[in-house]
Amino acid sequence: MAKIVIDGAEIETEEGANLLKVCLDNDIYIPNLCRLETDETPHASCRLCFVEVAGYKSPVPSCTVAVTDEMVVKTDTEPVRRLQKTGLRFLLSTHKIECKDCPANKQCELQDIAKFLKVGLKPKGLKQRFHETDVDERHPCFTYYPNRCVLCGKCIRVCRQEHGQSTLTFARRGIDTVVSCFQGDDIEKLPCEDYRACAAICPVGALEVK
């Protein structure tokens, strides 16, 4: 058992529990996109779930923090919000805002986070940057939209966790990074037809079942 303080409220939880999960379970919302309940180690790539933990110099992603007794956490400070907003604005600067035509409209986690952080969907002051291809049809079962994708990698990981390997993978580097799929025989062997975990888990409608 550990007693911790989050935003002034005392909360009892397990020693070693994942701080992000503890916050979410206690109705303290922390923006996040890349966390999977089933991950063995935190993926920690979306860089939105920052909180301040007493004793740390700067904000830390709460998904990487294991709770210890008497931990003091603040989720709503200026440095935290600032990093979260910058991170979100970065994501939005590579995300095509065509919400009306997007199946994720109104269930989109990006929309939710933007609303929560009070950030406009078209980020001011940052040049927008999109991939040349809007639609990637190479996967036999799924259509991929690189300009919607936030590269949280959850699709890749659920697939791997489910099947031991994944037809999906990251490809290319830097700003050109996308989710792509392996070609060849393997792809036919995987039971993609029956499992749609990857598309279901996508927070932004970047993967659609064909």
Binding site: T41, P42, H43, A44, S45, C46, R47, L48, F50, S58, P59, P61, T64, P79, R82, L83, T86, G87, F90, L91, S93, T94, G125, L126, K127, R129, V150, L151, G153, T169, F170, R172, R173, G174, I175, D176, T177
Partner: protein, 647 residues
């Protein structure tokens, strides 16, 4: 440590050593001249293969008996290809020759080896003190260094283990194997050695953590990924004296209780890979690697893993993923690799230079090592000093030497007539420091305080014709391309920095850009997952702090003070200097922008000019008539005479 026993590692080693000594003695006392040639990648790139072939040909053609000894690199890039001719019967000391072309090689074979004339006009210096020829030990480029890591580089043949053994190689291992693993860790801790891979983590502490970590199959990994542009220390070490690093790795394995080691080396280093392979095979044959090392009962073997040239794979968690067969993407730490590394096993990852520092520490003791350098940064630092210096190359200096001493005293300073402008230290993670920082001592903490960092040892010296905005843009272009794409701040944030920097260099900078660069940089540093993103803004932040006027000139006056950014400069020809009838610039212009004026001098058509600068290079120095200006409107307009007009 215990006194050597009769059949313990020291005794086994003594026998190996005697054999190597005998071999060396035979080589040294043979009554024939010896020609040592530097044959590392840098030497080969400068033509050392051709030089060696020329010697071989000349020796054969003229029936000269001599031995050619291929060695590694001594770090003196400006002198490549170099040879040392050691010809005792000539009455001269061993002589160092630089820039030895095949022609020079043939000439030396004939005139020196056959006729006994060392050709003084080509001599750089003698490698021993003597009365006839100046000794290189009197030159600052040679005598200000302190060589522990690179000591044997350029002396030994990297593909001949006996050369290393005859230089006391593997003696430290024999000594350590008679003591306890803990005493090795103690020695390394007492030496206060810090990791040479960039972050400067105490090596003894890392090894202690690995030793006490639970796990059956611990691993030692040598990080030879070396992805910083312009850095080549690790490559040189592996190509010139691989055994010192291997000995360090075996010592590490013994200390932490690991039985296997992996050298992670980039496949762009084919010579280093092949030399390492040979070295590992020879070490196994000699019994210093593999089963029952030197009869001690300790087993340790080493394999090579070739990386595929991603900068981020030098980051330790990405490196591990890469060996495991996945895409090289960093992971959140903790867990640190010493607790949970390769395939979940405790893993020590050390840089090549860190591992190569171990044998001298064990051999000479922690106190000796700690007496070199400064209190908080002991030992030496190896830098590859490149850019606008007179004597570029690899330099090993005690920590604490100032930047000024390194750049001006040791490396000969800036080329004639030009002024020092900035020095970039630590590669893409480092910073750019101005003249006022030249007296900063080179150690981990002073460099970090200055906003730069030790990094793995890349140093680029820049003269006044450098644009610092462009330098930042260059590094951000590199980090953006090399970002693995995993985390938001690095993947997208560095893109936005790059986009702004690019705009500024083409004259499209706007009010507010500098503040934007600063805030984005701070957020990227705070928000990124791994060291790549966390340090990527450093070149921007330091150049903004120390060279802000250059940024402002680009934005407000559309002027590039370093005369580098092409859209902001123009070339013209100074008609007072241009020589009538000279056509040197006309022939070299790729776009026919140079024309002849009515006075039979030359002018540049600014519409056609692509600002390549070829005309400036071609213009004979006695005229020196081509000028570069910024902003471009400062170039006087000279009208092109209409087509067909009589010239």
């Amino acid at each position: 440590m215990n006194p050597p026993s009769d059949n313990g590692p020291q005794a086994v080693y003594a026998a190996i050593r005697a054999e190597a000594d005998e071999r060396l003695e035979a080589f040294r006392t043979a009554p024939v001249p010896r020609i040592h040639i530097g044959m590392a990648t840098c030497g080969i790139a400068s033509g050392a293969m051709e030089t060696k072939a020329a010697f071989e040909e000349a020796l054969a053609a003229q029936n000269i008996e001599a031995k050619i000894h291929s060695v590694g690199c001594i770090g003196h890039c400006y002198a490549e290809p170099w040879v040392i001719i050691d010809y005792p019967d000539s009455g001269f000391p061993p002589i160092f020759y630089h820039n030895v072309t095949p022609g020079k090689a043939k000439m030396l074979a004939k005139l020196f080896l056959l006729e006994g004339d060392p050709r003084f006009e080509h001599v750089y210096g003698a490698t021993e003190e003597n009365e006839m020829i100046p000794w290189v030990g009197e030159f600052p480029r040679f005598n200000r260094e302190k060589r522990l890591i690179t000591e044997k580089c350029g002396k030994v043949d990297p593909e001949e283990i006996n050369d290393y053994i005859a230089e006391k190689g593997y003696g430290a291992l024999a000594k350590a194997l008679e003591g306890s693993p803990e005493s090795v860790i103690q020695e390394v801790s007492d030496a206060r050695l810090r990791g040479r891979g960039g972050a400067g983590f105490p090596t003894g502490k890392k090894w202690q953590l690995a030793r006490s970590a639970e796990g059956g199959s611990k691993v030692v990994i040598c990080n030879a990924d070396e992805g910083d542009p312009g850095a080549y220390m690790d490559r040189t070490l592996l190509e010139s004296n691989p055994h010192q690093m291997l000995e360090g790795m075996i010592l590490c394995g013994y200390a932490v209780g690991a039985h296997r080691g992996i050298v992670y080396v980039r496949s762009e280093y084919p010579l280093a890979v092949s030399i390492l392979r040979t070295a590992i095979d020879q070490a196994r044959e000699k019994g210093v690697l593999g089963e029952n090392i030197l009869g001690s009962g300790f087993n340790f073997d080493i394999t090579i893993f070739q990386g595929s040239g991603a900068f981020v794979c030098g980051e330790e968690t990405a490196l591990i993923r890469s060996i495991e067969g996945s895409r090289g993407m960093p992971q959140h730490r903790p867990p640190y690799p010493v607790v949970k590394g390769l395939n979940g096993e405790p893993t020590v990852i050390n840089n090549v230079k860190t591992l190569a520092s171990i044998p001298p520490i064990i051999e000479n003791g922690a106190e000796w090592f700690a007496s070199i350098g400064t209190e908080s940064s002991t030992g030496t630092a190896v830098f590859s000093v490149v850019g606008d210096v007179v004597h570029p190359g690899l330099v090993e200096i005690p920590m604490g030497v100032t930047l000024r001493e390194l750049i001006f005293d040791i490396c000969g300073g800036i080329h004639k007539k030009k002024k020092f402008h900035a020095v970039q230290i630590g590669g893409p993670s480092g910073g750019c420091l101005p003249e006022s920082f030249l007296d900063t001592p080179i150690d981990y903490d002073s460099l970090t305080d200055a906003g730069a960092m030790m990094g793995s040892g890349g140093m680029v010296v820049m003269d006044q014709e450098t644009c610092m905005v462009n330098v930042s843009r260059y590094f951000l272009d590199f980090t953006q391309k090399e970002s693995c794409g995993k985390c938001t701040f690095c993947r997208i944030g560095t893109y936005h920095l790059l986009e702004i920097l690019h705009r500024i260099t083409i004259g499209e900078g706007e009010e507010g850009d500098l503040e934007k660069l600063e805030t984005l940089s701070k957020d990227i540093k705070a928000g990124s997952l791994c060291g790549l993103g966390r340090t990527a803004p450093n070149p921007v932040l330091t150049s903004l702090a120390y060279f802000r006027d250059e940024y402002e000139a680009h934005i407000k006056e559309k002027k590039c003070p370093g005369l580098t950014c092409r859209p902001l400069i123009a070339f013209y020809i100074d008609l007072d200097k241009c020589a009538r009838g000279c056509d040197a610039c006309v022939g070299c212009c790729p776009t026919d922008a140079v024309f002849t004026t009515r006075t039979r001098k030359k002018g540049i058509d600014l519409e056609l000019c692509v600002k390549c600068g070829e005309c400036m290079v071609a213009c004979p120095p006695e005229y020196d008539a081509v000028r570069k200006v910024s902003p471009p409107h400062l170039a006087p307009v000279v009208d092109r005479p209409p087509e067909g007009e009589k010239k």
